[in-house]
Structure formats: C-alpha cells, structure tokens
C-alpha cells in the first residue's frame, strides 16, 4: 500500500507505474471490498481493506500482499472485473491502495463508470495480450508508461495498443471525468427538460 494517497485532479494524459497482476475472471466487488467495510461515511480508510477476505485466505500470498508488488499502480486483470454490486467503495479501495489505472480483458459496466468517475482509466486488451503480461509478471517486474493520447502502454520489452472508450479517453484528456461542474453548466436545459416530462405533469402528488 502506498503511504500517501493523492486523488487525481484535472486533466491527465500519462500514467507511469509498476504493474500488479490479479488472475481470475468475474472478480466481483464483494471480493474487492467485502460489505462489512461499507459501514462508513467516507472512503478514507478503505485502502487497507481491499480484497480483505481473499488476502486473509491466502495468508500473505495474495498479490496485494506480496513485497514484490509494493508501490504498484497499474492493475492487470482478466475478464468481467468488478461485476456485481455497484459499490464505488470497490474502486475507491483500489485507488487508496495505490491503483491508478487498470488493464483487463473486460470490465463490468457499473464498475467501469465508477472508475471513470473517480479518475481511474480502465483499458482493455485481448485475452492473449493479458496472458503475455501476466506471464511476464510471473518472472520479473514490469513498468508501463501509459499514454492516453496514443492509447498505448509500453515498457522496455513490451508494447501494446490499449482499448478504451473514446468518450472516456476524451474525458481524461480534458479533465471532464470530474463530471459535476460540466453537468451543472447545462442548468437551463435541465430545468426545461424536467418541466417538459409528461410524468412531472401528471404526478402532482409527489
């Protein structure tokens, strides 16, 4: 776990960091952060509890406990990562552990939008490419330079063209992933739209 947590701010185009691999399909958000840790009114203390059950079961051998993964910030995963519960606590816990970007075969929808909303880009690669990275990581450390302008990840040995939704990519490059202020700009349009909705007219009693 990183000692100091800095949440991302504004626009960015580069993420450089050490990779950490977590092998497995359909890793759900209950596993990323078990429900008992959701009893909180802020996200601050979630970092240390990420994958709590899985880590206890593996007694120090979980990737998030291995010394070799200390300081890692780019998470490599397999398919349908983050399925299940919509809890934003899951990406918040990963972010507070030190994760700044995730590369995987595929992501669950709500998890993906939660990641974008808090400034963690999620990239996709083919099953084979993920396998290459995971095998590489079995033997040595891997440092990726991720460039959002080219959607690429490169190290001294490896280079990949990453998949990312164009809308998400633009949001990071422009800083609009931090959505609130952009949405509020359309205040007049919002009010008009709301007042025009048929059901606002016939639902006077709520």
């Amino acid at each position: 776990m990183n000692d100091r947590f800095n949440s991302p701010v504004g626009r960015f185009s580069q993420i450089n960091g050490k990779c950490i691999s977590l092998v497995g399909d359909d890793v759900d958000t209950d596993r990323i952060i078990p429900a008992r840790f959701l009893k909180c009114i802020d996200f601050d203390s979630l970092g240390k509890s990420v994958f709590d059950d899985d880590r206890k079961a593996l007694k120090g051998k979980h990737p998030f406990d291995l010394k070799t993964n200390k300081g890692a910030s780019i998470l490599i995963v397999n398919s349908n990562f983050g399925c299940g519960s919509s809890r934003e606590h899951a990406p918040q816990a990963l972010m507070r552990w030190g994760i700044k970007a995730i590369i995987g075969e595929s992501f669950a929808d709500i998890f993906y939008s939660n990641c974008i909303a808090i400034g963690i880009p999620c990239f996709t690669l083919s099953k084979q490419s993920i396998k290459i990275i995971q095998r590489y990581l079995d033997n040595k450390d891997l440092f990726f330079e991720i460039d959002l302008t080219k959607s690429s990840a490169s190290s001294t040995d490896l280079k990949f063209n990453l998949g990312i939704k164009e809308t998400s990519r633009k949001m990071f490059l422009s800083g609009e992933w931090d959505t609130t202020s952009k949405l509020i700009e359309n205040n007049n349009l919002i009010e008009k739209k709301l007042n025009d909705l048929p059901y606002i007219k016939f639902n006077s009693n709520f």
Binding site: D26, D28, D109, N114, I118
Partner: protein, 469 residues
C-alpha cells in the same frame, strides 16, 4: 443500433445534451437513495458548496444496515447507527423525503418505490445500488450508479452516460407449475452467462413474461445485473397499470387517463430494431439452484454439477474456483445437498407474493432440526400485509424466525451472517464468495418456494414434491 424500442424512446426523452466527450447527459426522473452509497455523495456536495438541485425528485429509505431483530435506537452497532443518523441529517438538511423505520413505508428501496407507486413507466430511475434494474419491470429505464454519480444526480439531476445497446430476451411458452420467475432468470443467466449483458439493456418479452405478475417481473429485472446488464425492462401492459392504480403516489383522476395514454405509447414498436435477440423456451425451465460462486453457475434440480469439459472454455477458470470454494465435485447431484441456513427475503424475492408462495409450501410442516431459517419481509408494508394474512404465523409455526424489514443476509451488513462454511439456501441474488457474511460461507440461490422446501427437508429439494401432494 437499436431503434424505436422503449429504451430508445425513454432515453431520447431524457437526453439533455451531448457532452463534449461524446457521452449523453441524461436526466434522472426519480432518484432513490439509501444509507450506504449516499453519505460520501452528500459530503462531496458540501466540499463543492453545492445544493441538491431538485430535492423532491429524490426519495430516501434505510435498508442495508438495519438490524432485523431489534430495531430500537440507537442501534447496538455504532457504525450502523452512525450511517442512519447521517442519512437522517442529510435528508433533513436538504429537504429530501425519507421513509424511516417505523414510518410504515420503510423497507428495501427496490420494494418500497414500486409499492408506493413512485416507480412508473417511462421514467429514468437511478439509485446507488445495482439492483435498481428491478424498476424496469414497469417499463422504466432504471439502473445502478456509483456514489460519484449519486453526487451528480443530487447536484444536477443528471448523469453522463453512454447509451446502452438493447438485447431482447424472448421467452417462449410458459413456466410450468412449481417453476417461478427466479428459476427463469437464473436459467437465462446460465444460458447467456454473467458477462453477456455488459454494454446492454435487456428487454424481457414474450408469452412467458406477459404471463408473469408484476412482482415476478420485478424478480426478473432485478437480476438483469447478474447477467451483466445494468438495466433490464419489460414493456408496460394492463398488469402494470392495474398494479400502479391507487398506490399512494400514483396519478389520480384525470391524470390517470393521461398517464395510461402516455404509458401505452412507450411500448417498443412492433417493428423496433434490437442490437441482438436471444430466445429461450420457458417451458423447459426446471426448479433452478446455483452450485457455484457466480449467479450463472446454476443447474436444474435434477441435474448434476457440470464437469469442466461441459463448461465453456471462457468459464472454466471460475468454475475451478467454484468447485474448490463450494467443496462440490463435478458429477455430484445438487438435490439432497445438506443445508444449514434458510433465508427468505431481499429485493429479489422479499415481496408479499414471495412470502405467500413460501408459506403455501410450508403449510403445516415443520422445518428440519438444526436448520436456522428466517424470513425478512422486503418492507414494512409487506410485513403488515403478511401479518394480516396470517403468513407470519405459518412461518413461526414451521420454525422460521420472523424478522423486521431490511436487506439482511442478502449482503450481511447487519448481524445476520453465515458462520464458517455453512451452506445457505437463499432467495437472494448473489452467491459470490463471502457474500453472506462469512469468508467461507456458501450460498445456493433458489426461489423462495425452493427455500421453503429445503427448510422442511434440511437439504436441497424439489418443491414440486410438496405442491403435488
């Protein structure tokens, strides 16, 4: 790209703008909040010095953390008390309607909104909870959001989102006797897989869907997310309208006629275009039980746990994990698997019709020795109705505990938890590792009727053996 489906119509109606990055700004007609995913959103508003833009478009209740045995305040669990206290303060400060414990309207958010008539066709509905897809049963476009998006809805009544594709799931024929909506949706997820819905809204249609009651339809849409689809919906029909009529918040008098006319216009057109269509034969569905650690790992009651060879290569890794975690072997029958705990409740199957059918199975039976069985009604209204019908007595006489409303052991945020590697027969929606509160606890998902049958026999059983007696 889909065209002229209900999803297309409702999306277009709520689209405020194209955002510079290319996603759509979508207006949320009804925003539901609860104690777990809202405190940080209110905190963020405060940090940004923002107000709730349309407080009357947000409704709150408390469900995830509430104890279901003793609900007197302050709760024994300090953290749970703090969460409810925070929600109370936030709702008070921002003038948001809050259905608190004892109001007669509290309960699981996805049970409460429909029963109060808040959920209506044609709305966009969002909530910081993945099972928001439940509300799609009424022909609304409803989906779960994270806390940052809760913040955005509070601040602007909108979110930034990419339009989903639409897959129609056409369910031919009808379910047989003793087969329920839960069996059907588990069957669908088993066939399509837990990832197939990523990027899609699911439109459930066909004779088997039309034949379902509104509460059964909610069970189907509720579990869309278990198939990967953030949103699931059913075109509104006469059943939808008659369910809504006369509810506390539903349109009245001349507004009712206007509402019906509009709701009817929302249905997917006969010639609408889908991005994909998937067909299944509902008459082939058996009472279905999960054997693994994803809701897609299910089999019919008379089937055996599949071997790796029988499983799609893409799903073999998680299947291997499932054998190990569950302690089950390929080829083993699911029927007669011993059960420790029986749970009837949740936003999937905690409604009055669920309790009725489970009580009908129980009849005069007693539950097996050494089984802990409990019923957690989905809401205060469900509990009240059940008591009026004497269902609580049937459960109590059988040996079930009768609890107060909440989410309870669906996700075990209160004190209702599995212990060690106990096996539960559960009417809830997720059988993930550790989901029911013990890191080694094992969950078998099934219909409430099947849970009742398992409680009587102390092992996984075919509910049809009870219904046919």
């Amino acid at each position: 790209m889909s065209q002229d489906t209900l999803f297309d119509k409702v999306w277009e109606l709520h689209k405020v703008a194209n955002l510079p990055g290319g996603s759509d700004q979508i207006l949320i007609g009804l925003h539901l909040i609860h104690e777990v995913t809202s405190p940080q959103a209110f905190g963020a508003l405060k940090d940004k010095n923002l107000k709730v833009k349309f407080p009357n478009r947000t409704v709150a209740t408390v469900d995830h953390i509430v104890p279901t045995d003793n609900q007197s305040r302050p709760f024994k669990d300090n953290l749970a008390e703090q969460m409810l206290d925070t929600l109370e303060k936030n709702c008070f400060e921002h003038k948001i309607k809050f259905f608190n414990i004892g109001s007669g309207k509290q309960g699981i958010v996805h049970v409460v909104a429909p029963e109060l008539g808040l959920t209506q066709p044609g709305m966009t509905i969002a909530c910081g909870d993945s099972h928001t897809s439940t509300h799609g049963a009424f022909g609304s476009i409803a989906f779960g959001i994270g806390t940052s998006q809760v913040r955005d809805v509070l601040a602007s009544q909108t979110i930034a989102m990419n339009k989903l594709k639409v897959r129609q799931i056409w369910c031919e024929n009808k379910l047989s006797n003793g087969i329920y909506a839960k069996d059907l949706v588990l069957h669908i997820i088993n066939h399509l897989g837990v990832k197939a819905g990523v990027g899609y809204a699911y439109e459930f249609a066909g004779p088997a869907i039309s034949a379902l009651s509104m509460e059964e339809r909610m069970t189907i849409c509720n579990m869309s997310i278990e198939g990967g689809a953030r949103c699931g919906y059913i075109n509104p029909d006469e059943k939808t309208f008659s369910y809504i009529k006369g509810k506390l918040c539903s349109p009245r008098n001349e507004n009712w006629d206007k509402a019906i006319k509009w709701w009817e216009s929302l249905q997917s057109d006969e010639n609408s275009i889908y991005d994909d269509v998937f067909k299944i034969d509902a008459s082939k569905v058996e009472p279905t039980v999960t054997w693994g650690i994803t809701p897609g790992q299910s089999i019919g009651i008379n089937q055996k746990i599949p071997s790796l060879k029988e499983i799609d290569p893409n799903d073999q890794f998680i299947a291997g994990e499932a054998y190990e975690y569950m302690g089950f072997k390929p080829g083993q029958p699911i029927k007669d698997t011993p059960i420790d705990v029986c749970f009837i409740g949740s936003c999937t199957n905690g409604r009055i019709s669920d309790l009725r059918v489970a009580a009908q199975v129980l009849g005069n039976y007693k539950i097996a020795k050494n089984i802990k069985a409990f019923v957690v009604p989905g809401s205060e209204r469900v509990a009240k109705e059940a008591k009026k019908e004497g269902l609580d007595k049937i459960f109590l006489d059988a040996g079930f505990q009768w609890r107060e409303p909440g989410c309870s052991m669906c996700l075990a945020m209160n004190s209702d938890k599995l212990i060690g590697n106990q096996v539960s027969a559960s009417s809830s929606n997720r059988n993930f590792k550790g989901r029911q509160g013990s890191p080694s606890g094992r969950t078998l998902l099934m219909s409430p009727a099947m849970v009742a049958a398992a409680a009587i026999n102390g092992k996984v059983s075919d509910v049809r053996d009870f219904l046919n007696k």
